[in-house]
């Protein structure tokens, strides 16, 4: 008879039916299709839950999935229960819209994703035919994903190799998920990877390819060698472990490093990097006259011991920690607080305090913003009238770990291991942070309210007790959780921390991080030279987080002292440190250098006379939220506005307005007419070529070439005592790219 009658029988025999169904259901059996284990990966692989499709925050065309599947039970609801019988139709499984859409049988904005005879279709069909069941009990979750090789080396372009992907589950089982993973390459001009994991070498170079499955992104290095069998490794001398590791890598890639830079270039480079200014005439003369073989190392030590080094690194930390002084009391960022914080940092750097202790003290501090400098971590890192734990946790992790966990606020990090659980547990370290009024209007007392509840998970509202990133168990209750956080964060075992510091120091001196950008550490942005970063990080731990020791190592390496002039084999290299990077001077260093060269001071509003540009931080008559450059020169030359903690706030690109400002703005022009150097030189009756030489050394830290000498002498002609001609030469030197760049 009709089906409905059968169905009626079913109703009548309801209890019996139930029992029968029970016998068929139960815990996960191997040949049963599980929503989480089998169906979700297909939705991921086919791209259904990608950000541009149904994984977007509001879904697509009325159907929403969680981005890359962070919310499996929500996805089950939406696929199966939201509109009964439509997306999945257990009565007539092949008529389920899920299948019709994916196979392109009906119009679909996302197009056809797989064919009717694919294994994906088969799996989905089988699941729907079984009634589209939800999972019961514990479904094994993926705990790690492994690519078949860590490194793929191609001897030539156009070669291919297939990668396979294995997923390991919490029940100890593992399976091949090559056909369920998604793939991408970081540089398609070096290597491509197709949907089935086949890698093709495209052109010489090195990059990483990645496979993504579940919430994991795993990468493998790909090296494609240049087709140059005649390559001979020049085997340059190695000053220390840094050279060993950089040269290992270069040799592997068949790239020869540039030559060692000359003494003048070295002196200018190291003075700009350690003292934040150009060298003086006297320094140049002394250094070039010095014949000791280790004079470079000696110079490095002298600069490290100089106050300027302390001033510079204080400025770098102050910028990173977003020190801005204001006078809007709820922000708790009064100028007095900013000064307290600034001078505290200065003291730490000056005394050579281990950087882990320096950070730990800030993290674990409480008290008055006006008198206890380090507590201003909680007022300055995020400028807001009320403490915002989520924003703070995100910035905290970006600054001290280089990790951007804020992605995990709304969904599991798409390209790293961080989950929403990690994020909200981490936020809970700061949910108790409060401010209360102090004894005077400008004062706020920062404290941790131990009774504050932890953050709640956004998907299901679950309270998430404080837990360190990547930790398994929450920190023990009772007491200020920040104490645990500080000791975990700055412990020698915490590689995230030491690698972050090492990478940032390296980037400061080399113009580029081993991980770049330095504050976007993630699985899909691996270091370009892993062993080098490991070694620097280990070294930092060995020297007890002493900043000067690591800086000394780097500056003494041949790698640091390489010329910027490329050779045939390394001219395409931009990331393996085979030659020095041309770096535009930071805005504040440029200003200090102009002052240094011209001998004419620059005043900064609200700061005493003689304050260097690097010692300046913005002071505002109001609140301190948002971007603040302070001095307009800094806006033009891209000094960090301190609007966010992002490393990208410091702009390194040259711009047209910078060129125009140096050419016709008051910074250079006024100083040339006001300075006394040229008059003094003319009075001393030196011959023109010596005056030219002095101007050259003063500005560019080198002697003019014979060609330059001849040409400039022609320019001066007969009027050897006309200041106008020398002023023009001085102006030209200050406007040259050679002056504006560190090379």
């Amino acid at each position: 008879m009709t089906n409905r009658v059968q169905c009626f029988r079913f109703v009548r025999c309801f209890s019996v039916g139930c029992l029968l169904t029970i016998l068929c259901a139960g815990d996960l059996v191997a040949d049963e299709i599980s929503f989480r284990r089998d169906v979700m990966p297909i939705l991921f692989r086919a791209g259904c839950n990608a950000g541009t499709c149904h994984g977007s925050a509001r879904g697509k065309d009325g159907f929403m999935l969680s981005l890359f599947g962070y919310d499996a039970s929500g996805d089950y609801e939406r696929v199966v229960n939201e509109i009964p019988g439509r997306r999945v139709n257990p009565a007539v499984p092949e008529q389920s819209l899920l299948l019709l859409k994916a196979t392109g049988a009906v119009p679909h904005s996302g197009g056809k994703l797989f064919s009717k005879d694919s294994e994906y279709h088969q799996t989905l069909l089988q699941w729907i035919a079984a009634g589209a069941p939800d999972d019961t009990g514990d479904v094994p979750v993926t705990t790690s994903v492994v690519l078949s090789k860590e490194r793929y080396l191609f001897k030539a372009s156009r070669l291919e190799e297939a990668a396979t992907v294995t997923a390991h589950a919490s029940d100890g089982s593992s399976r091949d998920v090559t056909r369920l993973a998604r793939y991408f390459s970081n540089n398609e001009s070096v290597a491509r990877i197709d949907v089935n994991g086949n890698i093709t070498a495209v052109g010489p170079g090195d990059t990483h390819v990645f496979a993504r499955f579940s919430r994991f992104t795993v990468g493998a290095e790909v090296i494609v060698l240049p087709e140059n069998d005649n390559f001979a490794w020049p085997d340059p001398p190695k000053a220390n472990y840094i050279d060993q590791l950089v040269f290992d890598r270069l040799q592997k890639l068949r790239i020869a490093p540039s030559e060692l830079c000359d003494d003048a270039t070295f002196l200018r480079r190291v003075t700009l990097d350690l003292a934040a200014r150009t060298p003086t005439l006297e320094e140049f003369q002394a250094f070039t006259a010095d014949n000791r073989p280790d004079k470079r190392a000696i110079r490095i030590d002298q600069l490290l011991a100089d106050d300027a080094f302390t001033d510079y690194w204080t400025a770098l930390w102050a910028e990173q920690l977003r020190i801005i002084g204001g006078n809007y009391a709820p922000d708790a960022t009064d100028i007095k607080a900013a000064d307290a914080f600034y001078s505290w940092i200065h003291k730490q750097i000056e005394s050579g305090r281990p950087m882990n202790e320096f950070v730990a003290e800030m993290v674990d501090s409480s008290g008055s913003n006006l008198t206890n400098g380090p507590v201003n971590l909680y007022t300055m890192l995020v400028h807001k009238p009320q403490f915002d734990p989520k924003a703070f946790a995100a910035d905290f992790s970006q600054v001290f770990l280089g990790v951007q966990i804020q992605c995990a606020e709304c969904h599991n990090h798409p390209f790293d291991r961080w989950t929403q659980d990690d994020y909200y547990s981490f936020v809970s370290f700061f949910t108790g942070m409060k401010r209360k009024s102090g004894v005077e209007p400008r004062e706020r007392r920062i404290y941790c309210d131990l009774s504050a509840p932890p953050a709640r998970h956004i998907v299901d509202g679950r309270p998430m007790p404080a837990k360190v990133l990547g930790g398994i168990n929450p920190v023990s209750a009772g007491g200020d959780p920040r104490t645990t956080l500080a000791s975990w964060l700055t412990a020698p075992e915490n590689e995230l921390f030491s690698r972050n510091l090492a990478n940032r120091i390296w980037a400061q001196l080399m113009g580029r991080g081993i991980i770049e950008p330095v504050d976007d550490v993630r699985a899909s942005n691996p270091p370009v030279n892993g062993p080098l970063l490991d070694a620097l990080s280990q070294r930092l731990v060995e020297v007890k987080f002493d900043l000067r020791s690591l800086v000394r190592d780097i500056c003494n390496s041949r790698t640091y002292q390489l010329s910027a002039k490329p050779n045939d084999s390394n001219q395409r290299d931009t990331r393996q440190f085979s030659h020095a990077h041309l770096r535009r001077l930071r805005a504040d260093v440029l200003m200090d250098s102009v002052v240094m060269v011209t001998g004419v001071d620059r005043r900064f509003n609200g700061f005493p006379e003689g304050t260097k540009a690097i010692e300046y931080y913005p002071r505002e008559a109001g609140d301190t939220e948002g971007p603040h450059f302070g001095d307009p020169f800094f806006a033009t030359f891209g000094r960090s506005s301190r609007g966010t903690v992002c490393a990208c706030e410091t702009k390194k690109e040259p711009t047209l307005s910078q060129t125009l400002h140096l050419a016709v703005g008051d910074t250079v022009r006024d100083r040339i007419s006001a300075n006394a150097h040229i008059a003094r030189l003319l009075e001393s009756k030196l011959p023109p070529d010596e005056i030219i030489e002095q101007l050259y050394i003063r500005t560019l830290c080198r002697r003019p070439t014979p060609f330059e000498q001849t040409a400039l002498k022609e320019l001066i002609g007969e009027n050897v005592s006309d200041p106008q001609a020398y002023e023009d030469i001085f102006w030209s030197l200050l406007n040259s790219t050679e002056f504006v760049f560190n090379h």
């Binding site: 008879m1 009658v5 259901a25 009964p84 035919a129």
Partner: protein, 480 residues
């Protein structure tokens, strides 16, 4: 076995009702103890946040909240407080508006949640002036059931419908639609590519008509029970509506040719029009005599999930997936009113037989009885079908109300994702509830396919409730 199950149901229902009564009694007592009033509780809030602009010295918009009398009187725009209707009270809307530009107090943080709750309680408990005063009387609901269609005699039953070839289904088709004849012992049930007629007394299938168009999403009898409207189709392929002669099983009309299955449909009381809607976002009104498109009503911004003609034939109500309801003039197609209260997809619309009340329910867990003459909620029941929260589970649980349908006497039956069928008296108070999961609830929790009731209607002259679930099963319940 059926009998045994029904007895169990009845016992359980009785027990549930008793427990419910007990529960409400307790809650009422609790209310009396707190007894929010203007003098003790509300004036301090108004003083702190409102008097500056709506007080003795200044009356913005003519509104003075500094005394009970002037507060009740309202401003130049009329009353701002309606007893027992916080959601309909202008004042409450103003302090809870999500848009900061609309919200009171202007250019300021919203009122503290406690204060808002206090004001809500004050309104909903009848706007008492002081500790001793009685509540301002709420509007009475003037409900007069309208007469049945003026047709005498028993409902026509299908006679000798030809047997249909059986369709092999993988498992029973979910009961997407159920309709009960307004005149007696007949119900129509949606099945895959067919519609089954059931004798509601014997509870057996007495015939089926084919629906080769696909899946019937909507079934509606006309007021005399002689014609059945079926609408549906195949997802993203085809949609149409069909009118059947109930007695003969013959097709009277085939209406519409949509590109997606029709999800909402109704036939006008004068049987001249069929209105349909679906993922196309427009409501199309077709002539039943020649199938021509008469009107296209455009206002909804998402899928149309329900349409319903008022029994007096004057209005057409339509609802969509983002929670908007629109009322249209059934003849001209002109816009009459928007009804905004729902925050999620609306699943059903039902008119009371006097055309004065429209009920709506949806995935936001809310049931609203709309007072059509005023355009505001006469009664609104949030969390009308609250599911039991499993131990250790946090966050939102799906608590949607999936269907709502009136009896001739004005009682409402609803079903929801909590697995319950609930009956609500004409005044909106809960009357009875029972679970379709019955004694199998415990077993069901272990099963990995959740069964939810999709449709619930009064049947057999309001003597029974007939519900259908997502596993293709029917559930009967006698009504006292």
């Amino acid at each position: 076995m059926t009998t045994k199950r029904l007895t169990l149901h009845t016992k359980r229902t009785a027990r549930c009702t008793m427990m419910l009564l007990l529960f409400f009694a307790i809650e009422a007592n609790g209310d009396e103890k707190i007894s929010v009033n203007y003098d003790d509780h509300i004036a301090p809030i108004f003083r702190k946040h409102c008097f500056q602009c709506h007080g003795e010295s200044k009356q913005e918009a003519g509104l003075n909240l500094a005394s009970f009398a002037t507060s009740i009187k309202g401003g130049s725009g009329g009353e701002v407080l309606i007893p027992e209707r916080s959601n309909g009270s202008r004042l409450f809307q103003a302090i809870t508006a999500e848009d900061p530009a609309e919200r009171m107090p202007p250019n300021n943080d919203p009122l503290p949640a406690d204060d808002v709750a206090m004001i809500r309680k004050w309104i909903d408990t009848g706007l008492k002036e002081n500790r001793g005063s009685a509540a301002v009387p709420a509007r009475k609901m003037n409900f007069v059931p309208s007469a049945k269609a003026a047709v005498d005699g028993p409902a026509p039953l299908p006679e000798n419908l030809p047997a249909l070839p059986s369709i092999k289904l993988n498992r029973p088709f979910p009961v997407l639609a159920v309709a009960a004849s307004p005149r007696g012992e007949l119900a129509a049930i949606a099945n895959y590519e067919r519609i089954d007629f059931i004798n509601t007394v014997t509870r057996t299938v007495i015939g089926s008509v084919p629906f080769p168009e696909g899946e019937p999403h909507v079934l509606r009898f006309n007021s005399s029970g002689t014609v059945l409207l079926a609408a549906g189709g195949r997802p993203v392929q085809h949609g149409s509506a069909v009118l059947y002669n109930v007695k003969m099983g013959s097709r009277l009309a085939e209406i519409g040719n949509e590109t997606d299955a029709i999800m909402a449909a109704d036939i006008s009381p004068d049987e001249k029009f069929v209105a349909v809607g679906g993922s196309g976002r427009a409501i199309k009104v077709f002539s039943t005599s020649d199938g021509t498109l008469q009107q296209t009503l455009v206002k909804h911004t998402d899928w149309i999930t329900a349409v319903a003609y008022s029994p007096d034939g004057k209005l057409l109500a339509s609802a969509d997936r983002v929670g908007n309801i629109h009322l249209w003039d059934a003849t001209s197609g002109g816009v009459v009113l928007p009804l905004s209260e729902h925050k999620g997809a609306i699943k059903a619309l039902a008119w009371r037989s006097d055309s004065q009340i429209l009920a709506s329910c949806g995935e936001d867990g809310l049931i609203v009885w709309w007072e059509i003459s005023k355009g505001w909620p006469a009664i609104s029941k949030p969390e009308a079908h609250p599911p039991v929260r499993p131990a250790g589970m946090y966050g939102k649980i799906a608590n949607g109300v999936l269907d709502a349908s009136f009896s001739t006497a004005g009682e409402l039956v609803t079903c929801g994702r909590d697995g319950q069928i609930r009956i609500w008296s004409a005044d909106g108070s809960p009357k009875a509830s029972y679970s379709i999961l019955g004694e199998s609830t415990k077993l069901n929790q272990k099963r990995s396919v959740r069964i939810v009731p999709l449709r619930s209607v009064f049947a057999n002259g309001d003597q029974q409730i007939l519900a259908g679930d997502s596993a293709g099963q029917l559930h009967w319940q006698n009504v006292q």
